[in-house]
């Protein structure tokens, strides 16, 4: 597959008819109606030949001329197991927030296939830059899910080592990580780690809303002009809090890549096989020096934006119901049963394992210690600042005073 396939200028005759790119050249074309534009943005397997899919919502294996993947039954079971376990601890995180154990939770429900497909395509020498919803990618990078809890319980800003795990810290400021990833990928290239099968690559995750940020645009410029081994993995889950996709763009997101001069591919984000196949291909392109690549994983956020959000204010339950039929786990389950003789014992085993994980996750949450007040001041600088050290000593001395007179410590309400 050559990148040119994706980057050559659109020709009216061979573009899919999705209501946006077909018809005469732009200068003479009638302006598409708002409805046509939105229909184009929302075109999925039913509407677009542009969607890479290997497993239908009914669990039927289909082929794709450019992206295919040969997986053993054992590998398919592993992908299933990954998705079930990740969904299970995600639901537990949500429940823990509801019970007041966590300040907030960011659900990934519905996006398991996109994340496991991408995450399992990464190799140990690769680097992943997540946003804040990538619990499934964290899982694939070997983080124990309990490592995510500190952020949501408010004891730390991330407890893992980004360098040894190949998984950068969660990034909350929308789009920032895209430029950081572009820089990291430039470094991989400058270090001579790109050029053959053993090359390294970087994958950055962001949402559809993030594509409006200058940082994401700039990351595409940087990645492109330095030929960085960068895979930009956009999980288009259709919503940026209350704002639908059409508030961010007038063209399908994957098509934007053409403007930067690299391939853009739209993959069924609820199909773990397709997500894996396309991610592997894209990372491989990068390893060989043909990056960047933009992947738009077309998926849906099944739950609220976060536990503080109320999606009933802005979206219709019909939409949710329609996407339920495309559930990523269910379709692989059907496929496993039909084609690979997966029996009840296997599903029971995965179920039991997920229950154990959830219980461990919950117990860990309950037993997390309160952070020490000195942590406010530690590791602010590599070379400690005398002013910050003085502020620490002053606060710790002040708090010590309370230990001697417990009555005074009661008054700290405001």
């Amino acid at each position: 597959m050559s990148p040119e396939h994706w980057t050559r200028p659109a020709h009216p005759a061979d573009e899919p008819d999705n209501g946006v790119t077909s018809g005469p050249p732009a200068a003479t074309a009638a302006k598409p109606t708002r409805e046509q534009v939105i229909a184009g943005l929302r075109a999925t397997s039913e509407g677009g030949a542009d969607l890479v899919q290997l497993l239908t919502p009914e669990g039927e294996r289909v082929t794709h001329p450019d992206f295919d993947i040969d997986l053993t039954a054992a590998q398919l079971r592993d992908l299933y197991r990954d998705m079930v376990l990740v969904r299970r601890f995600d639901r537990e995180g949500n429940a823990l927030q509801r019970q007041g154990q966590l300040g907030i939770w960011v659900p990934l429900l519905g996006q398991e296939a996109a994340q496991i497909g991408a995450g399992r395509a990464l190799r140990s020498g690769d680097m992943a830059f997540p946003s804040y919803r990538e619990h499934g990618v964290a899982w694939c990078r070997g983080l124990d899910p309990t490592e995510l809890l500190g952020i949501f319980r408010g004891t730390d800003h991330g407890s893992w080592d980004p360098l040894s795990t190949g998984f950068h810290l969660y990034t909350i400021v929308i789009g920032n990580q895209a430029l950081n990833a572009a820089g990291y990928a430039m470094g991989q290239k400058f270090d001579g780690k790109v050029g053959d099968d053993d090359g390294e690559a970087t994958m950055v995750f962001f949402g559809d809303g993030a594509t409006s940020q200058g940082d994401v645009h700039e990351a595409m410029v940087w990645g492109s002009v330095y030929d960085a081994p960068l895979v930009l993995f956009c999980q288009n889950n259709q919503w940026a809090i209350s704002e639908p996709l059409e508030r961010q763009t007038r063209v399908p997101l994957y098509q934007r890549a053409a403007g930067y001069g690299f391939p853009g591919i739209r993959v069924d984000g609820n199909d773990v096989l397709a997500s894996l196949a396309v991610s592997k291909w894209a990372l491989d392109e990068c390893r060989h020096g043909n990056g960047p690549v933009l992947i738009e994983a077309f998926t849906y956020r099944m739950d609220a934006h976060t536990t503080t959000d109320d999606p009933t204010r802005y979206r219709l339950s019909d939409e949710l119901e329609a996407w339920k039929l495309k559930d990523p786990i269910e379709r692989l389950r059907v496929h496993l049963v039909r084609e690979h003789d997966a029996d009840q014992a296997f599903f029971d085993e995965v179920q039991a394992e997920s229950d154990e994980l959830a219980a461990r996750f919950r117990e860990f949450c309950f037993s997390m210690p309160e952070p020490d007040p000195g942590r406010i001041f530690s590791e602010v600088y590599a070379d400690p600042s005398p002013a910050v050290t003085a502020q620490r000593d002053e606060l710790l001395g002040y708090l010590d005073g309370f230990a001697e007179q417990p009555a005074a410590a009661q008054g700290g309400v405001h």
């Binding site: 300040g103 907030i104 500190g150 952020i151 949501f152 319980r153 408010g154 004891t155 730390d156 800003h157 909350i172 400021v173 929308i174 789009g175 809303g209 993030a210 409006s212 940020q213 200058g214 940082d215 940026a240 809090i241 209350s242 704002e243 508030r247 961010q248 503080t308 959000d309 109320d310 204010r313 802005y314 309160e370 952070p371 007040p373 942590r375 406010i376 001041f377 602010v380 600042s385 002013a387 910050v388 502020q391 606060l395 002040y398 708090l399 309370f402 005074a408 410590a409 008054g411 700290g412 309400v413 405001h414």
Partner: protein, 344 residues
């Protein structure tokens, strides 16, 4: 979509209506302020992320898009540089945009546009181009949020020539200050203490408002002066109440305007009490509290009985929420500073 005809709320000379006084939260009073500004002036726009159908993540813009339409209340793409930059363009074209930044920590992608264009265009154009833009920023900590949701960046804006910076501390001020900020022909950074959004007070929308760029004495006292703004105002008032029970009368001043600073009432107070304690959640170095400290020692040197003391956050990134109780100035830390001042 045109605004529906609605009853005009006249700030200056309306005759008192029976429903003019209501008990409202700060979020609601800001909503009322925006609503009346949208009603009065067709050039006023509200713009930001999720301000439309959702009504903003704090519901400050609740119901406005429904009543004024998508071209008066704009759900913008997710890009702060875009929000501020287009507001600048809209202002050049004669509009009066009121931008919402979702949380303090997300203003930085828009910082370039604020500092490079919004602040400077009036000066660069020698007054030919006006910049009547309000940027609303929910700020400060104490709501148990994750990173980037609890910061106090107001000093960074007060440092920039060409910007005005204000912060409300209660529902009544919130209403009037927002109305006046929207009427102001200069860019106003409007800092809203998010952890006070749901505190209530009685608001009379037909009262005579105090001027926007002025501080206010909220409580009279003789022992020492406390000057503060935004989220720490209620904390300091509570501290003053606690001190009064022990016979110490503290004067409490709400600064309200951070740039320009209205320090007249502070100087006057310090000359009487001889002592000043400043409270703010912001890190202390190179901040609004440093500025006030410098000016008070310059103006009130011979009246001071004690050094000016500050109760603030620390010069570190905002900590995880389990530690914010130690970071934020609370009643005890304010009283401790008062005691230290009185002990001099």
């Amino acid at each position: 979509m045109a605004a529906p005809a609605m009853e005009r709320t006249d700030v200056t000379n309306g005759s008192a209506r029976p429903d003019a006084t209501r008990t409202v939260t700060m979020a609601k009073s800001l909503n009322m302020g925006l609503r009346s500004a949208l009603e009065q002036d067709p050039k006023v726009l509200v713009m930001g992320e999720d301000v439309g159908k959702l009504g903003g993540v704090f519901r400050v813009t609740d119901g406005l898009q429904k009543d004024f339409g998508e071209h008066r209340v704009l759900d913008t793409p997710l890009a702060e540089s875009g929000i501020i930059g287009t507001a600048v363009g809209l202002a050049i074209r004669g509009y009066r945009p009121v931008c919402e930044i979702q949380f303090d920590g997300f203003i930085f992608p828009g910082y370039d546009q604020i500092v490079s264009q919004l602040a400077k265009l009036h000066f660069r154009s020698q007054g030919k181009v006006k910049m009547p833009v309000v940027v609303r920023v929910p700020f400060g900590g104490g709501i148990g949020a994750v990173e980037h949701h609890s910061e106090s960046p107001e000093s960074l804006f007060a440092h920039i020539g060409g910007l005005k910076v204000v912060s409300c501390s209660n529902p009544v001020d919130a209403y009037w200050m927002l109305r006046q900020a929207i009427e102001c022909d200069d860019p106003v950074l409007f800092f809203e203490p998010k952890r006070r959004y749901y505190e209530k007070a009685e608001l009379n929308t037909e009262a005579q408002p105090p001027p926007l760029f002025a501080s206010r004495v909220l409580r009279r006292g003789t022992a020492a002066t406390i000057a503060t703004y935004g989220p720490t105002v209620p904390t300091c008032l509570a501290a003053a109440n606690a001190a009064a029970e022990e016979g110490t009368e503290l004067e409490v001043i709400d600064l309200r305007s951070l740039s320009p600073l209205d320090l007249g009432p502070v100087f006057e107070s310090v000359r009487r009490t001889g002592r000043l304690v400043l409270a703010s959640e912001a890190p202390p170095e190179s901040s609004i509290t440093s500025e006030i400290t410098a000016r008070v020692q310059q103006e009130c040197f011979y009246s001071l009985e004690a050094p000016v003391l500050r109760v603030t956050g620390f010069d570190v990134p905002y900590p995880p929420t389990k530690l914010e109780k130690h970071f934020l100035p609370d009643l005890d830390r304010v009283l401790d500073a008062v005691d230290r001042s009185l002990a001099f």
